[in-house]
Amino acid sequence: RLPILHVRGETKMSQQAANGDRCRAKVLTVETMNPNVKRVEYAVRGPIVQRAVQLEKELKQGAKKPFTEVIKANIGDAHAMGQKPITFFRQVLALCAYPALLEEEKFPEDAKQRARRILAACGGHSIGAYSASQGIECIRQDVSRYIEKRDGGIPSNPDNIYLSTGASDAIVTMLKLLVCGEGRQRTGVMISIPQYPLYSAALADLAAVQINYYLDEDKSWSLDVAELRRSLNAAREHCNPRVLCIINPGNPTGQVQSRQCIEDVIRFAKEERLFLMADEVYQDNVYAEGCKFHSFKKVLFEMGPEYSSTVEMASFHSTSKCFMGECGFRGGYMEVINMDPAVKAQLIKLVSVRLCPPVPGQALMDLVVNPPQPDEPSYTTFVKEKTAVLAALAEKASITEQAFNTMPGFTCNPVQGAMYTFPRISIPQKAIDKAKELGQVPDMFYCMKLLEEEGICLVPGSGFGQRDGTFHFRMTILPPTEKLKIVLQRIKDFHLRFTQEFS
């Protein structure tokens, strides 16, 4: 099969050479490439999303469909759904981008002061200069101070902070660092089912052994140490379990772990000598009454030196979620706890392959950890905007959960935090059979049909993992409230039709 590009103009060539060449095998084929790549799936940007993009193209070109727009409720992108950026953050970033603006009166003094400080820490006072691979030092210091404040004074060392290109970059870097061994000694990594599929994709890419531990759907997706133990013991038969990943608040499930649960997990990690990876990117997204975010680090240290000086841990944060929603800036960091200096020396090598994280993302992270203070001019507006964003998310979390729980064929756990609902859907046997015929998993079949008929893009639960025989989808709670209500109604109507069609 000839490639897409065509050679300009006529060229003379012998017939034999031409034929021979058309048959000439490529150097890089599916057979010769890295076989690990074949097992990599990332549902959040997978086939259903590609189809959604295709439908959008067709709509743009004037095609007639049962819907006028494709609603992309598949990805945790708040701005895409109309959430506004925080004014202060964007002001400082603009000042950093074009420092001549520092002369303009329209920018508040606190924004200017932060911009000047960030620029002073950049090579040549420019955000266009490479920074150190670990990230700009004064920003790492600010991150440490933020962590100390958040965790009630527990010290944080800036040397343990690694700024990154989104949290994903740091997560993949840590996994890459830790995965080793051959055969039965291959590193096993425990991940929750359901989970954010970056983890399963990274593990497939690294040919690590994925160890599934199930969250309990009947108990609001809570984590039970007995289940951790069961899963670990079974895994010891065929791999060397060394890492435990936990997402809190959860994605896609939205549960906010109780303090007791976090302690139990830490205790378990210590007993079983596991490296703990705590993905805490949704730490400000907590909505449910009685739920509170407890940082793993804080709980670790409050458990006393027996734990705080031994358990090895990395915790991750990002500028993409919470109240900022600045996904496009690719800002993030990780804090490593109790990491052996020799291991750190290896880590810095890996980190330097990336050269440095995007400086605007680093600057943004600095503002997240160093926001306007009560005595500063931008404070009032900042607090107003932040509160409004979090309140809107809380309201939408509640609307969505309630709506699904009143729809026949759906059950939905409380959306305690994060940005998603993960309702369980009942799919009739006939539909399951039809899906099988088409070579699709049932919830993909369901979601594809929903996309084609209603223009609503969700991610099937199979992309995140779920107990056999159960079906789910992940939908974000991000669309504006009015649109959200319409989307929920249309899903309800679709489900009725679907159930009738396959009864």
Partner: protein, 477 residues
């Protein structure tokens, strides 16, 4: 628990660079300067990396104005920005979902930005068409390269996968390769005559891999880094024929294509030459060509914008490459914006054009001036010999170190050029990288100096180098 034994062996296999030691020492020295305990120099001049803004070159006004307006669209209502700045910012914001640079973008990049890149490539290559489906944008060209290596390097093959790479070579690529479990098979550039790539040497290198590793690709850097060569058309053709005959994937790192100073030098892209050669080459050689907004006149390293153009790659493999990029979500939006501004600069007649031209010319003049001045100055130093710098961002002079210095270095358990560089840093506050980090012929020593710096910075660094070097040679002769 996490003892060094239990770390990914590929990561352990990534070489430890001497430059990291220099960086740490430099931090200490800067701290000492701040505290007043070092007074012999006021600041450390760091020319260890291709970091133009850090070296005193200024960002382009148009680029930064557009970027600021994209970050804070309220600026579009002000009088302070020219019409074309506003138009471009509005156009870019429209390409973002929800009009915000805070949104994720499509995996491969914003379609309109990709489209602009394809037009840039096509114009550059004399009209050769460029398919947008073959472009992937990432947070830096090295990120693109590492995604391609992820697909290319098969660690399950019977012999370890290898990539032929130049000596001297930019270490990040090799580190990335090792992190993926690949090996590199070195082919030596010939220093005499300006770091020339010779076909016979490619043959020798390939032969040396027989039975040891499985070479799957050839990596070229043009214009070079650290070597300042700009390949001739004939040389590029030779490489293309070589990869065709020996069934190698071609990785062409062309990030310095905008930095060409040699009077008789001209950048021509691998893609253009490939297409001009016609079949069978043009429709069978598998090529990945990398470019970036970090270098060249635009010099925006910190904004992290780079792309790869894939040519003749198997369609099924393209789907897997797409998957690799999708795990990163997308490239940073500021990086994508900067790529657009690089590939689609102000045009004659537009209000920002005069200033843009002026700034661009100034930077170019500086680079040409720096290349000449640095070459002349360094060739005057005892033991220094510089090849002519035709392009790229660096000088890579050879330094013939006295035997006594080499001995002293051995005693200190340092490579001799690292010993030299450490002394240079400590005594003169000048940070350059020793050739050992780039690989070099056994028994030769080099240092790499970035010349994409302000003229005053160059003058000062040459002054410090001269003073230090004369003293060093006296001490060790």
């Amino acid at each position: 628990m996490s003892a060094p034994l239990e770390i990914n062996p590929y990561v352990k296999n990534i070489q430890q660079l001497q430059s990291q030691k220099l960086a740490r020492r430099s931090e200490q020295i800067q701290e000492d300067i701040r505290r007043g305990s070092i007074t012999s120099f006021k600041e450390v001049i760091d020319v260890s990396s291709g970091n133009p803004h850090s070296g005193g070159l200024r960002p382009l006004t148009f680029v930064r104005q557009v970027l600021a307006a994209c970050f804070y669209p309220e600026l579009l209502d002000s009088d302070g920005l020219k019409a074309d700045v506003k138009q471009r910012a509005e156009k870019l914001l429209k390409t973002c979902v929800g009009g915000s640079v805070g949104c994720y973008t499509n995996t491969a990049g914003i379609p309109e930005v990709i489209h602009g890149i394809t037009e840039f490539i096509s114009r550059r290559d004399g009209g050769v068409p460029c398919d947008p489906q073959n472009i992937f944008i990432s947070s830096g060209s090295q990120w693109c390269l590492s995604n391609i290596l992820k697909v290319l390097v098969n660690t399950k093959s019977s012999l370890p996968c290898a990539v032929l790479s130049p000596v001297p070579c930019y270490p990040t690529t090799l580190m990335s390769l090792r992190a993926q479990g690949g090996l590199h098979v070195p082919y030596r550039l010939t220093e005499e005559g300006g770091w020339v790539l010779k076909g016979a040497e490619l043959q020798r290198a390939l032969q040396s891999a027989q039975g040891v590793s499985n070479p799957v690709a050839l990596y070229v850097v043009n214009p070079g880094n650290p070597a300042g060569l700009v390949q001739s058309r004939a040389s590029i053709q030779e490489v293309i024929r070589f990869v065709y005959e020996n069934r190698l994937f071609l990785l062409a790192d062309e990030v310095y294509q905008d930095c060409v100073y040699g009077e008789n030098s001209c950048f021509v892209s691998y893609k253009q030459v490939l297409m001009e050669m016609g079949p069978p080459y043009s429709h069978s050689v598998e090529l990945a060509s990398f470019h970036s907004a970090s270098k060249g006149v635009i010099g925006e390293c910190g904004l992290r914008g780079g792309y790869v153009e894939l040519v003749n790659v198997d369609q099924a493999v393209m789907d897997y490459i797409y998957k690799m990029f999708s795990l990163d979500s997308c490239a940073s939006v500021s990086g994508q914006m900067v790529l657009d501004l690089m590939t689609n600069p102000p045009q004659p007649g537009e209000p920002s054009y005069p200033l843009y031209c002026q700034e661009k010319e100034e930077i170019r003049r500086t680079l040409v001036h720096n290349a000449l001045k640095a070459t002349e100055a360094m060739n005057l130093l005892l033991g220094f010999s510089c090849q002519p710098v035709e392009g790229g961002a660096f000088m890579f002079p050879r330094v013939d170190l006295p035997q006594r210095a080499i001995q002293r270095a051995q005693e200190a358990e340092l490579p001799a050029d690292m010993f030299y560089c450490m002394r240079l840093l400590e005594e003169a506050g000048l940070m350059v990288i020793p050739g050992c980090d780039y690989q070099q012929e056994e028994g030769t020593y080099h240092i790499r100096i970035c010349i994409m710096v302000h003229e005053e910075v160059l003058d000062e660094l040459l002054r410090r180098l001269r003073t230090f070097h004369n003293k060093f040679m006296k001490e060790f002769s």
